[in-house]
């Protein structure tokens, strides 16, 4: 177990290093100069020089990369003040500390993803299993068709549609808005209800299909037949034998989905104007805000990598054949 986690941790660090390097160098491959953007009227070479120095982009790119990466571990000093580890520097666009900004945006993304995920996971699994159980019946056809239709939809299409209907026309639901849970739980819930519903509609559809097909696949397994051959009831076989095996693909996809949602649900956050990590990422790219882009990228990647490790750990929990090593 310990060996598994330490090995995976090492692997994760390598992956994150690669991602960071690729991001950093790609950023400079685009012919945009962040200093130029920040340089006001009558920008002159001297003024640019000052800004570059303030931004810490006056040095060769590999040196900058090294300073950035080592700063994460050791902290750095900037014109804006000391930046304790984990230091991702200060935003080029508004001089906010990157790490604080990320921590500030994260609760929005967490609320959005976890809330959405809980709903879509459970409803999706339920619907999928009913469809598999009642395979070939009307219920199965209804669920399967609905999930096919819904899963082919996109958040940026469904989102505005749901908003137009429930918020703007009927006035039944609140306009999406993030209010911290600690501040006002009711407002938190109401403000996120629509985004949850919309994420849910699309993800649930996927999980329904996934759960259905993997249940059906599992039901055809030899060991499931064996269980029936020894007289176990259909329900028992379904929930004990088939279900356990069908969890593996579901957990895999769920891990990836939740990991990337936590890393920033860009389209969802953008569609509903929610100030989460995904929106921060898009805005930072638009503003050529390298430290912010790097910070968000690494933070998101960490979640994706972390959830990959968790998924693998979950395999071991579900399937005794998998050993954590």
């Amino acid at each position: 177990m310990l060996r598994f986690f330490s090995r995976r941790l090492a692997g994760a660090i390598v992956i994150l290093l690669v991602i960071s390097a690729v991001t950093f160098f790609l950023f400079y491959a685009v012919p945009r100069d962040p200093a130029m953007l920040a340089c006001g009227k009558n920008c002159t070479p001297d003024a640019l020089e000052v800004i570059r120095k303030n931004m810490g982009i006056d040095k060769p790119i590999p040196v900058q990369y090294w300073e950035f990466m080592s700063g994460i571990v050791t902290g750095r000093d900037f014109a804006q003040g000391a930046c304790p580890a984990p230091c991702f520097g200060y935003s080029f666009a508004n001089s906010d500390p990157v790490w604080d900004t990320i921590l500030d945006r994260f609760p929005t993304t967490v609320s959005l993803s976890i809330g959405g995920a809980v709903v879509f996971l459970f409803i999706g699994l339920g619907a999928g299993m009913i469809a598999a159980w009642k395979r070939g019946t009307l219920a199965d056809k209804v669920f399967s068709t609905a999930s096919l239709v819904l899963s082919s939809m996109q958040i940026y299409f469904v989102g505005p549609l749901v908003m137009a209907l429930f918020v703007f026309n009927l006035g039944l639901l609140d306009q999406p808005k993030y209010v911290p849970l600690s501040e006002d739980p009711a407002a938190w819930f109401m403000g996120l209800l629509i985004p949850w519903l919309v994420i849910q509609i699309i993800f649930t559809a996927n999980y329904t299909r996934l759960a259905r097909s993997s249940m059906i696949e599992q039901l055809a397994e030899d060991h499931v037949r064996t269980a029936r051959a020894k007289g176990m009831s259909g329900k028992f076989v379904f929930f004990r034998y088939a279900w356990r095996g069908s969890l593996i693909p579901i957990v895999t996809i769920f891990g990836v989905d939740l990991g990337s949602l936590l890393g920033g649900a860009m389209i969802t956050e953008w569609t509903f104007s929610l100030p989460g990590l995904g929106k921060l990422a898009v805005e930072s790219v638009q503003k050529t805000d390298l430290p912010m882009v790097m910070g968000v990228m690494l933070f998101s990647a960490t979640f994706i990598v972390l959830f990959n490790v968790l998924v693998d750990a979950a395999y071991a929990f579900i399937d005794p054949r998998v050993r954590l090593a």
Binding site: R225, T226, A227, R228, K230, G231, Y241
Partner: protein, 357 residues
Amino acid sequence: MTTLTKEADVPAPRDAGASGAFLSVRDLYVHFDTEGGTVKAVDGLSFDLERGSTLGIVGESGSGKSVTNLSILGLHNPKKTDVSGQILLDGQELTGAREKTLESLRGNKMAMIFQDPLTALSPYYTVGRQISEPYRKHTGASKRDAHLRAIEMLDKVGIPNAKLRVNDYPHQFSGGMRQRAMIAMALVCNPDLLIADEPTTALDVTVQAQILDLLKDLQQEFGSAIIFITHDLGVIANVADDILVMYGGRAVERGSVEEVLRSPQHPYAWGLLTSMPRLSSDVNEELVPIKGTPPSLLAPPPGCPFHPRCDYVDQVAGGKSCSGDRPMLPAGRGAACHLTAEQKQTFFIEQIKPRLG
């Protein structure tokens, strides 16, 4: 012993109820509806089996041998399968029986051992748990008792250190041990009927022999009737009392082990024998596989299903046509073939036997 009588004059089909056999299958038809049409997996099959005896069912893949046994256990998909005929287990009708009834019989009065113990055991639960589950269900035993029973069974099937291994997962067992565990699971409720579907095919030869010995020993101890499905005549010679040769969803020959192996009557059985290597044969002698391919179950050949592959179609006399008339299998010892008894004997002795060495 078996009820398969050696006298050719016993009429068929007999009244099943009157036979007193433990398992009696009469005119069994198993048809699946598929998109391509109706698959006639089993197409009119009858046989009987008595307590404590072993029936070997031989045939190529797709001959209907596995389907027959799945329908005895009622493991086919009822929505897509059309089963007709009669299956009497100890006087109880199984075709059309309620799922609940079948559930209470499965693993209890009748049990099955599958071919590949790797896939047939669930990877997610311990061997002990999988063995004790049916025991608890059918006997109402406590968890603890069931666990002890599982250890006892593992011990019985020859798993060393059963007390510890009972908590292992199937993947921690070797192939032979897994099949032993499978057997332990099947026998945990002392079933009267044990169906072994190619139980040794996936195992290597030395392990095969051990498993066969184990089955024989256990049969003596438990007194179960066994249906032993295989395509391996060598295995069957070892374990069975009687043999049923199946082809294209039908029985084409039956008799005692002795009879069928010593003097087979059906050209298909000849083919099976000549295609099997023997220790005594000359290494340079070629094995002769049966020409052609197994028949389509969607559109089986008319008449004798074996006729497209048969070398003796021309020899049939007496106005019967292999491609037109379906030969019937007589009750008791016999073969479903239009050749006359003399022809069968002559051809076997003159053409087949020499090749068997």
